[in-house]
Each structure stands twice: as structure tokens, then as C-alpha cells.
């Protein structure tokens, strides 16, 4: 199965998922598409998020024969995962279920926090995924609409950023029994040190990217789709926005400067 894995995201956040797939599955090839031009998806109506997500999928499948689709965006997963999974003939992995499953592995108090975009939190997708598996879970959810713009503007380590994060996360501090916090947005791992500091070391953070890559590994194996060729995989990166911006953030995240092409996907 020499075809690539397609990874789509509203912008650069999904690069944290792509990075984890490269790290955990170094033989696999990736085709990445970020819809930076219309990022963030978080505040948009569900129908619009669905439409944009389908445009990304159509673009990828027209230009590449992908063996699996990873929706590396929590907002898009919350809005469209079930629909897409039913419609496609290849395995589809979202970022919500892997994060929920892993939180249930890690949490002992069964009081689990979730932070995400307005769209993700409003959808209650995490809550539903957690309760589907264990109906004794208590979930504390918090929308953090300031966080994605901080990442997309590449403003990660300033004091201003830390202050914004701390102020928002203070709203979760009443929940003393909480022992696990799901980073319910693929941008948030880029703010992980600041989030860990703000929450305290007692709280275990669940990184969607790490857990999604693990699920990709499991599903590739059980569907007999793992790549067997041993040649070095070549990845491809596309954005609907600034190629240079994705190259800069990509370089910080991936350890090499990816070659990014700008494409149009809204012509259908």
C-alpha cells in the first residue's frame, strides 16, 4: 500500500498531527492540505465547515490517490466526521475519538476537561464520544477562541500569549477533581508548555495529534494498509493561503522546511 495518507486541516494546526504520523510511522507518505485562507473554522456555522471540509477532500482525492483520510481538525471532525466516514470508501480517522479514548485510558478520577474552539465545544462532540464509552464520566468544557489566532499568527512564546492562556484557563480551576485535560484542537499542542504551566503538573494533557497518529497506526495495521516499500517517503504540502507562512511554521514543527504549494479548492 504505497499510497499516501491524506491529512486535512483548517490551517497549520494539523501539522502537529502530520508531525506525529511522521514520527510514529516514519515509513508512511503524507499529503497535507491546510485551508489557511478561511482559517479559523472554529467560529463558523456547521454547514459552512462541512462545505469547506468536503472541498478539501475533493481536492485531495482529485489530485492524489489516498489510502486513508485524517481529519486533523477538531472543528471539522465535530461538524462532519460521521457524514464523511459513511460517504468514503477509505478509512477515515477524526481527532476526537482518539483523544476521548486516550483520556479514558489515562484518567483515574473520570473527571475530564476539554478545551477547544467555539465550534468544537458547542458541538459537544467530545462529551458525546466520552459518554458513549463510559456514562459515568464528568466533562468540563471550555471554549478558548483566542488560542488559534495566537498560533496562526506564529506568536507562540510571548508573555502576552501566556497571559491570555492563563486568563482563559482560570475558568477551569473550580474543578478540583479533574485529572486530565484534552487539548481538543490540533493547534493547542504548540502551546503545550504554557497550557501545562497554567494548569499545573497534576493535570495530564492529552495531545490529539499523538493519539490520532497512534489510531492511524492501529487502523492501518488492522486494515492491511501499512506501507511496505522501504524507500524514503516524500510528503506533499498544500495550502489555500500563504505558502511562505506554512513553510515557516512547518519548519519549526517538522524539523525541516517543507515545500508548500498554494492551491485553490473552492471552484466546484
Amino acid at each position: 500500500m504505497n499510497q499516501p495518507i491524506g491529512v486535512i486541516d483548517s490551517g497549520v494546526g494539523g501539522l502537529t498531527v502530520a508531525r506525529e504520523i511522521m514520527r510514529q510511522l516514519p515509513k508512511e507518505k503524507i499529503v497535507y492540505l491546510g485551508d489557511n485562507q478561511r482559517c479559523p473554522y472554529g467560529p463558523r456555522p456547521v454547514e459552512e465547515v462541512r462545505q469547506y471540509t468536503w472541498q478539501m477532500i475533493h481536492y485531495l482525492r482529485e489530485h492524489h490517490s489516498i489510502k486513508m483520510l485524517v481529519i486533523a481538525c477538531n472543528t471539522a471532525t465535530a461538524a462532519a466526521y460521521e457524514q464523511i466516514k459513511r460517504a468514503l470508501d477509505i478509512p477515515v480517522i477524526g481527532v476526537i475519538r482518539p483523544g476521548a479514548r486516550s483520556a479514558l485510558k489515562v484518567s483515574r478520577s473520570l473527571h475530564i476537561g476539554v478545551i477547544g474552539t467555539i465550534g468544537t465545544i458547542k458541538s459537544e462532540a467530545y462529551q458525546q464520544a466520552l459518554l458513549d464509552i463510559n456514562n459515568e464520566v464528568i466533562v468540563s468544557s471550555l471554549a478558548c477562541p483566542e488560542f488559534v489566532p495566537l498560533v496562526e499568527s506564529n506568536n507562540l512564546s510571548s508573555l502576552e500569549t501566556y497571559k491570555t492562556i492563563t486568563k482563559r484557563l482560570n475558568e477551569l480551576h473550580g474543578d478540583e477533581n479533574m485529572d486530565t485535560l484534552i487539548l481538543g484542537c490540533t493547534h493547542y499542542p504548540m502551546l503545550r508548555p504554557q497550557i501545562q504551566k497554567a494548569m499545573g503538573s497534576r493535570i495530564k494533557l492529552i495531545d490529539s495529534g499523538e493519539e490520532t497518529a497512534l489510531e492511524v497506526s492501529t487502523v492501518l495495521y488492522h486494515k492491511n494498509l501499512a506501507r511496505e516499500e522501504s524507500s524514503q517517503p516524500i510528503h506533499h504540502f498544500y495550502t489555500t493561503g500563504s505558502a511562505q507562512m506554512m513553510e515557516t511554521i512547518g519548519e519549526q514543527l517538522l524539523g525541516y522546511r517543507p515545500d508548500v504549494k498554494t492551491v485553490r479548492i473552492d471552484q466546484d
Copy 2:
């Protein structure tokens, strides 16, 4: 999908996997069978392990309609997993791949240790599973034949036990770059505190049971096999050996005293 998940093991070690399935997937029903009479499998020839494992599977499938099989024994997984996976029409989960995948998620140095029975270590099944995914991994393997008898004799927390463990694990101490150790036997989580102490807090331990239960969760979901009934699940426990012994160890592990029945499985 109201059918139970079948869990088989050479003895009581697989109860750590069953416990994790109950914890992470509290809606699922389990049928457990431990071949205590012929435990340990570790030192036995591969062909014999295969034969005994098939006898357990035949017994379970004759008496219960299971929707998934979990081989909760590293020795049996190493000896027979591929064969069983090909032969059965239900999903089959072993304990080796989940542990290997999780180690690759956790390790940063890519130098990974594996401890297990003589059979598991001799099979090189972990090494193969790790290298299948990432051929830059360095694996240090060590057989610990004394560990299973310590657990099966319910002799967990004595000073003698700790001394035995430390003495054996000292053999791994030359490998300074190692940052992750796979507990490649489902009995070993019962010795986890002693193993962690002997290895030092720097080493991340991978518990086959936790990771296998996570993989059960993922595969149930992607194969549409999760249980949907909300009634409290009732589990069943069988052993080929002493029911009382499994009840005693089960009580320590599961938090309640299971009702265990002794059965014969070698009549075919």
C-alpha cells in the same frame, strides 16, 4: 453488538488486560479463560503453545458467541497470532502490536527495552513489530523466567520478590540511552511498582494491558462492534486450574471477587 469479548491467557496474567478492558470500556462484556493448569506457557515449545491456544479458542467459541478475541498472553501472541488472525472471522487482538505501537509513541530516544518470558523473547516478536514500523529502533530484550511464577504463586510484595526482580533487571542497566521499557508479559503489571523502582523513574513503562484495551476500543469502534445495550454487563471467568486461586487473585485485581468455574479444554 451485545456479544462478549473473549479474552484468553495462559493463567491469571490476562486478568490485567481484562481489568483494563472493564475500566476503559465499562459497557463491554467479557468471557475470560485462563489455562492455569498448564501455565506457564513461556518455556514451552512453539507448537505446544499453539495447540493449547487453539484449545482455548475452540472452548470459548463452542460455549459463547464472542464478537472479538483478545489473546492476552504475550507467549501465545508471539507463537500463534498471525495464524489465528488469518483463520478467524472475528477481529483478533494480540498484546504485542499495541505495546510496540505505544512504545513508539512514547519513546524519544528510540531505544526501547522489552522484558518477557523465554518464549516471547526468543520469538523476537516485539523486535519484529517495532522494526516493521520503524527500522531505526534499537531494542534491548531480556527474558525474565522467574517473574511469572512469582505472580502465579501470588507472592507479589515480599522482599524476596523485589530482590529477584532487581537482580534480573540489572542486566539491562548498561543501556543508558533506553527511555522506554515494554512489560512484554501480562503478568508483569502486577509487579509494576517493583519494576519501576528497579529501573528508575526515568524509564517509561508500557503496560500491555492498558494499550491492548485501548486497541480493543479503537477496533470495536472502526468495525462497528461496540456494545450498545446499557444494562450492566455480566462477565464470565473460566480456568483449567484452581477456581479458588483465580478468584483470590481476581479479587485483588478487579476490585470484586469473580465467580470462577473450572473447565476441561483438552478433550479434542
